[in-house]
């Protein structure tokens, strides 16, 4: 019998089973993050390669079967080359002298839309959280309000836009009168509040019976229970809801800009450039990239929020 076996036995005996430390969850290291960024870039490149490959393989007029086009056209009007789209970004918007390069025009339009979307997101988050708190506090409110919250999302935006604009135009508070961008923000918030209301309610209701019992045994008030238990416990549910709300706010802004007819934003730009697509095909793709960028920025900001609230997501990291 080796000494080593004996030593192992001693070590095993001296190990206190109640003092075994579980190693802390390893955070995603710098290498892991670099890898993720690389995969993201590769994903974009792969999409471009697929696009060009499709253009090479499929004939200009697409593929027709029994008179029905089953694969879309690949002509340079329908599907410009990816490099043309990129190159177009660095040319002026119009032929008029002193016109900005396209990328600058797109960025400023995207910035304008992002501002409105952010306001819509904030309104949506506030309203959604308020509704969730109300529904958590009174179960009667949950059964009375939740179906309406769900139903509200079945109203098409297109139908809503003129209504909001009409109602708004009748509002005037002192020197401040209703403007079109406000209507757009309200519509964006209408899409944004829904995931927040539903996600926050689930999160607020997520603590186990043992935790609510414990706080009751401490004679904690509803407010104390909310601040110390329910709100922190809701964070893992709230963050995906906030991300969804951000995406919804961007979509709401882009669509509402078109239906309200608000100038200056990316939604309107998509529409305008699409109309000129016949003469300048790559140009109409610019604002679409802008809209994608907008969505990424919005979701990214929420991800940043999640980093700040890391402490409340320990369970998530372990899972």
């Amino acid at each position: 019998m080796s000494e080593r076996a004996a030593a192992t036995r001693v070590a095993a005996r001296s190990a206190d089973p109640s003092v075994t430390l579980v190693p802390p969850p390893r955070p995603a290291g710098r290498r892991g993050r670099a890898r993720m960024a690389l995969m993201g870039v590769l994903g974009v490149l792969a999409t471009a390669v697929l696009w060009e490959l499709y253009k090479v393989v499929v004939p200009d007029d697409g593929v027709l079967m029994a008179g029905v086009r089953v694969l879309p056209r690949t002509s340079d009007i329908a599907m410009p080359h990816t490099w043309e789209m990129v190159a177009r970004l660095f040319e002026p918007v119009t032929r008029a002298a002193g016109a900005d390069p396209l990328w600058l025009a797109i960025l400023s339009a995207a910035g304008f839309s992002l501002g409105i979307a952010a306001i819509g997101w904030v309104i949506g988050v506030v309203v959604g959280l308020a509704l969730a708190l109300l529904m958590q506090r009174f179960s009667l409110a949950e059964s009375g309000v939740l179906p309406w919250v769900v139903l509200s999302q079945t109203v098409p935006l297109i139908a809503l836009a003129p209504l909001v604009r009409n109602w708004g135009s009748k509002l005037q508070v002192g020197p401040i009168s209703w403007e079109n961008w406000m209507s757009v923000a309200v519509i964006a918030s209408y899409l944004a509040f829904f995931p927040v209301a539903v996600g926050a309610l689930r999160g607020l209701q997520s603590p186990d019976a043992i935790h609510t019992d414990l706080l009751r045994s401490y004679a904690a008030s509803w407010r104390q229970t909310m601040v110390r238990l329910r709100l922190p416990a809701s964070v893992p549910y709230l963050l995906p809801a906030l991300r969804l709300a951000a995406a919804n706010a961007v979509i709401g802004t882009v669509v509402a800009e078109v239906s309200i007819g608000l100038k200056g934003g990316i939604g309107r730009m998509i529409l305008e450039f699409a109309q000129s697509a016949g003469g300048d095909p790559p140009k109409s793709w610019g604002p679409i990239f802008g809209a994608v960028l907008l969505g990424l920025l919005a979701a990214g900001s929420v991800a940043l929020l999640g980093v700040g609230l890391r402490r409340y997501r320990r369970g998530e990291e372990l899972a």
Binding site: S18, V19, L21, P24, D213, L214, L229
Partner: protein, 299 residues
């Protein structure tokens, strides 16, 4: 029944007094008589275990004493006050089978939670949590998070938390039920020491006969459907006061005598008993199974 109205350190009178207690649950399947005619008195500083098969209402009884559940009839007083007043005055500390630690708080902050809720200043809170961490031997883990601790350590934190307000009464609902046998015995020994140091009375719900025998001054043996007190076994007559016991007792003949006495009282009350030769019979379901105890309760 005690009528003293003292809040701080009552050295005389009963810690808990339960009289003619009834609890009926209305469920879809009809009414369930969870507790019937329960009379229990727990003296200050006394360790009383509630033991019985699943469904005997021992957890429900504990929850009624804690004012987490309302009785259908009868009276409950804690240090001479009604249960609600006692809860509002923080006269008891409580621990459950799960530690119930908040994952986003450090160990120290978890222990300080009740103090924080009751407006104790930061410096006093830190001093108290340091003291309690020392008591349960976890000083170096103060800044860790619950998910970094083993189950036994988490349960020690929960016990430290239940002691935060210096209660004269501890209510414990199977606090060691989810632990392995080795850890469990260590925790029992530790609890004996803590009780000796704090002088608190304890009401302790358990499934385990040796656990009840080792820890208790008295063991209240309950029978199910309806939950009733079968018998009260005075363990301390043979084993001495609960807070003076040591690990050596576990191999003492008197300890086995107490185990046998509790076992016989338990089996006399359950319909499935009547195996007089079953000396090695295991005491029935343990651990998470105890949830059956509370299955009949409304959510």
């Amino acid at each position: 029944m005690s009528s003293g109205r003292k809040n701080a350190a009552p050295t005389t009178g009963a810690a808990v007094s339960v009289g003619r207690l009834d609890k009926v649950f209305d469920t879809k399947g009809g009414t369930v008589h969870a507790l019937q005619g329960i009379d229990v008195e727990v003296a200050a500083g006394e360790f009383v275990s509630l033991i019985g098969p699943s469904g005997c209402g021992k957890s429900t009884l504990l929850r009624i004493i804690a004012d987490l559940e309302q009785p259908t009839g009868g009276t409950v007083t804690v240090f001479g006050k009604d249960a609600r007043r006692a809860r509002l005055d923080q006269d008891y500390g409580i621990a459950f089978q799960q530690s119930g630690l908040l994952g986003w708080r450090t160990i120290a902050a978890n222990i300080e939670l009740p103090l924080e809720l009751h407006g104790v200043g930061a410096r006093d809170r830190h001093a108290r949590s340091a003291e309690l961490l020392d008591l349960v031997g976890l000083t170096e883990f103060a800044d860790r998070f619950p998910d970094q601790l083993s189950g036994g350590m988490q349960q020690r934190v929960a016990i430290a938390r239940s002691l935060a307000e210096r209660p004269n009464l501890l209510l414990m609902d199977e606090p060691f039920g989810a632990l392995d046998e080795m850890t469990r015995e260590r925790m029992q020994t530790e609890l004996v020491r803590i009780c000796a140091e704090t002088g608190a009375a304890v009401v302790f719900v358990t499934h385990s006969i040796p656990e009840a025998a080792f820890l208790s001054d008295r063991v209240v043996v309950m029978s199910p459907r309806p939950g009733r007190i079968q018998r009260v076994v005075d363990v301390d007559v043979d084993l001495g006061p609960a807070h003076e016991r040591t690990d050596a007792l576990r191999e003492d003949r008197r300890f086995f005598g107490a185990v046998t006495a509790i076992r016989e009282a338990l089996h006399a009350g359950s319909a499935s008993a009547g195996t007089p030769d079953g000396a090695q019979r295991i005491t029935g379901p343990t651990g998470p199974d105890d949830r059956h105890d509370r299955l009949t309760e409304p959510a």
